[in-house]
Symmetry: D2
Subunit: 351 residues, 4 copies
């Protein structure tokens, strides 16, 4: 069985997703692509053998599309996800699910109303599929370091793209740390505060770096530095300090070179080499679930809503000089859980 | 287009290959499996949805099989590969292609006779697809360390499986080092010598470890230690020392754990986690080539023949107290080259 | 010329100092030792060939003592330092110089009054002599990472000794981080805040770990976690993140051992092996300065006063639920500077 | 008690030794220096406060010299050591003790004749005092990796100094590896062979690199590559592979810097920073033994003789195309042992 995928958005992310699904994922074929910029859509279509659609709506409605991957502009996500819900098609939406808590909540509510709790929406928090983070979580669950007490993380990019401000640092980049922290610790983030180191002179558009404090329901304090103009390389670090030890992500590199009185290892220039495997495994897990009719083990709409709430609270902390902000997550319903498990029936939209 | 694969041999290797092809490779489906041990074949068939065949011959002949993966006992390889050649079906044969130089030569000759030089045979020297070795080779080719002078490699297994002797250490394990060295340096191995450290008391069936010297046509000396009862972990190392620097494989690990006054990183217990990606990428490259009708970028029958010659020379050195043995590789023909490139016509056997 | 040292306090620290001065420092000899516990004093005396004194006062006054090293109980430091000032004898006092800001200020004032600004007091913030920290500081000063923006540090002990509470974590352990941060950045700490991760169940006497935020006059934010029951090992980390890169302490280890599927490196059980070289180099620098009649390049009484102010501010932050506390350092006088330089005259007390 | 040292040779090595003894070693003072180049001698004399002597003979004979450190040209060592023996003065001679086996043997014989077995001669194989090698040896002796089977070492310099040939690579550089291997394994080297990788084009005066095989009496095979024009940095590696694991020297570095898509660590440009501590500790151990009247725990004349025999055998192997050469070490006498232990009487020459 082959799942026919329609890709909405043919920028860097959409193109990467299309290639991965077409070339490196078992059971998937890219049959459709849509992008307001026709040339970008056409390039992906040529490369994958897909058909170009002139609009996201048409693509979603097409009988040649079993499931949809959304990699369009953040502002378009909500409407496109609603389209997928209305056509009862599974959708993998890039993060953020939607820019605001209100929109995310609306998507969660609509999904509940339309499917009665069967999740059609998955969200691209791909770090959950990164082998390093998975090993880290497995070690924690084996208890090798005892009860977690503190998490120290770093999220460093080489440079910012044009546009963006101090708030978008949180909502676009910090949100990965928010999601992965709750996932690693199996505990919701209940309060946050925002802190500012000296800001780099190399980007006048925002406070950069920022230090985010996240406190989860289990009492663990996570301190994350997010630095978008770190210059030196794309670098993601995470150490969980427990009662009897610590476990941390190893720095990924394949080779070591020695020359000119220096032993050196390369950093990636952006997230793609670091998380290529995570994207592939996330897509494979999504396709596998669609084929087997099980709940996709990806981040859910509820997870995305929770992360967006936390991001908003961090923005509020930033705007109030670093105050501690408490988050009121509503009680999750059983259907909203991200736990796996066989669905009652195979969704009809996968052929 | 989907390539329908028949798997011959449902042991550890065959089962792993079947899973990888079925679950993680785009464009492949496992439709057939054969193994003298019916229960093993049935287990793989159930898991992948393939059909069981009672013999390798039947499987090769089946119209539901476009291409064959051989993971049977070494002694059966040659006959099964011949079957594939006769049915004009592409075959990916696990290493060794065949245990003896004579058999390997016979397979090369038959392929030339049957296909007129179009390679049907690929050989599973999967290290060529390991991202670490590929980065190592890329660095060398970029010239970051200048002309290579010396290679220092280690091949360490945890324990030996029953059976095997000092010669099989070379022909089964050392052969990976032989192939990867010639590939890394783009230079044929022209002479060898064999050296014996103190042997471990933990395996009385063989000299273990062994040190192999391989001298390539470019004058580079490679020293490899092969230690099958290294106990501490599965460990493959490689450093290329050049005129202006060195480049070496990094030790792979995903996380670092600290507890009990120790900072530690895990070794794999065997080759599978270390080379899982290499197997997947090798299979994907094979399938991609079959679909596009291009020459598979895998090790060829000629590469396997060359490696077997070198292994035999090392056995001869061992049997003569460590003498230096010169290898006479015949001039390779154009068809025998492992270089890529579009074939003249798409093989008819892929539907 | 040999400087005759009297050691006050023959506990772990005093014994180590005595051994180092006697065995590994050029130009020093330990001639006197005093400790309320006579047996401890006697043990050190026997080992070094020194003479036992029944009281600190007598030792300080002895004509056979040119300079004094104080490693007694914290509560006794101030009085003993005053004794040294009165006898015009150079003194190296273990940190903390004195437990309270008031006492430290008093010592600074008395030194100014007695010597007119010639520093007799040095304070044992030995990290300033650790080769790793010195290389870190040198790299910063070479500008390899540009303007510093953020410092991330960790201070982890294996277990706490009996006694102590959340405040003593700051005043005894955190104070090292306070001093080294100001020294590394060449900038005074101007405000602080205190943060509490989940506390370990393994020590009910205090909040452990703690996260300390230190903001220096240059705007850099330093985040330090201090974890006294970290269990896994004695571990000190420091990363300075600058505008164009980062520089961090390497983890110190001499060998790597592989066995049992694990590659491992040892942690020290306490600070002594990690900082043995720092103590030796600090003592050597002190002795060299005494012999040459130059200003000792060690932390000064003023440095210790500044660190104590910061520690008290952190305690205040802790007691007020994590509020940001601003520190008012008085303007330093020229004499209070820790800069080196030839003194006007050789102190008469060194023979 | 202070040992008054005379330094013969005021080149790089002699100057470093003089500084270390004067500034960083307890119980030593440099009182005399001699060098045929008067300016060099004078520079050291000024720096240390020592007196210049116009000849090695005068210096050795001086009543103001208790012990002698020889860092002169290799060719002068034997005669100067004989001078020390004749004056019954302890001498620490830089390696090689003497260039030829015959001369070394002569020194051993003379020492036996003159002192009746009490060793006056120590030899500067300083690696034995390197904390890394000491930890490596300690681990082996604790049995953490079981019986040693194989040692893999590398000795890499940045460039050669003018002069020298393929033989001097062995006798000047390789000799360190020879001594440390026998010391690490507590086993004499009994046979050797010499192997040539492709030689670098950057030094036409010698084969470079070289691979040396050393087989110790315990059956362990050591493979050392010695590469004097390695360019990339001064780098010494050593891994001992045992029956149950491996233990290896960690690469020494104090900090890690990240910038420009690269994580990097520095190599030293030559041996001095790497072995500074080893030289200091060796000198301290020598002085401590002189003061306490015990046998110095440094390499002995017998050790140097053994290393020179092995080096000569390697030169013979090189000259015979890599043949395996067996070494006949004479039975060591009790006096020739490098074991420690209290001497019968304190040598009279130390005041």
């Amino acid at each position: 069985m082959t799942v026919r995928i329609g890709i909405i958005g043919a920028g860097i992310m959409g193109t990467d997703h299309a290639r991965t699904l077409q070339r490196s994922v078992s059971g998937a074929t890219v049959t459709a692509v849509a992008d307001p910029v026709q040339d970008r859509a056409r390039a992906v279509a040529v490369e994958t053998g897909a058909r170009c659609f002139s609009s996201a709506e048409e693509l979603i409605a097409s009988p040649f599309v079993d499931a949809v991957l959304i990699a369009s502009h953040d502002s378009a996500h909500a409407e496109q996800v609603i389209g997928c819900l209305e056509h009862r098609k599974p959708v993998l939406c890039e993060k953020p699910l939607a820019p605001t808590v209100r929109e995310c909540q609306d998507l969660v509510d609509r999904q509940n109303a339309i499917t009665g709790g069967i999740p059609l929406i998955s969200v691209g928090f791909m770090r959950r599929f990164h082998p390093g983070y998975r090993e880290l979580k497995a070690r924690l669950e084996e208890g090798v370091v005892g009860q977690a007490l503190m998490v120290l993380s770093s999220h460093r990019n080489v440079t910012t793209s044009p546009g963006g401000d101090s708030a978008s640092t949180i909502t676009n980049s910090g949100i990965h740390e928010i999601d992965i922290t709750a996932w690693l610790l199996n505990s919701a983030i209940e309060s946050v505060s925002w802190h500012a180191p000296r800001t780099t002179a190399l980007d006048s558009s925002r406070q950069d770096p920022q230090v985010l404090h996240l406190r989860t329901a289990d009492g663990v304090l996570t301190s994350v530095d997010v630095f978008l103009n770190a210059r030196y390389g794309y670098d993601v670090r995470c150490e969980v300090v427990g009662e009897t030890g610590t476990v941390e992500l190893a720095r990924p590199h394949l080779t070591t070179t020695s020359r000119g009185l220096t032993e050196s290892r390369s950093y990636a220039a952006d997230w793609r080499p670091v998380f290529a495997d995570a994207y592939r495994l996330q897509s494979q897990a999504w396709i596998d679930a669609l084929i087997s009719g099980t709940r996709p083990p990806l981040a859910t709409a509820e997870d995305a809503l929770a992360a967006t709430r936390v991001a908003q609270a961090l923005v509020a902390s930033m705007n109030s000089g670093g105050a501690t902000i408490t988050i009121n997550h509503p009680q999750p319903t059983v259907e909203g859980s991200s736990a796996g498990g066989k669905l009652e029936r195979t969704p009809t939209h996968v052929r």
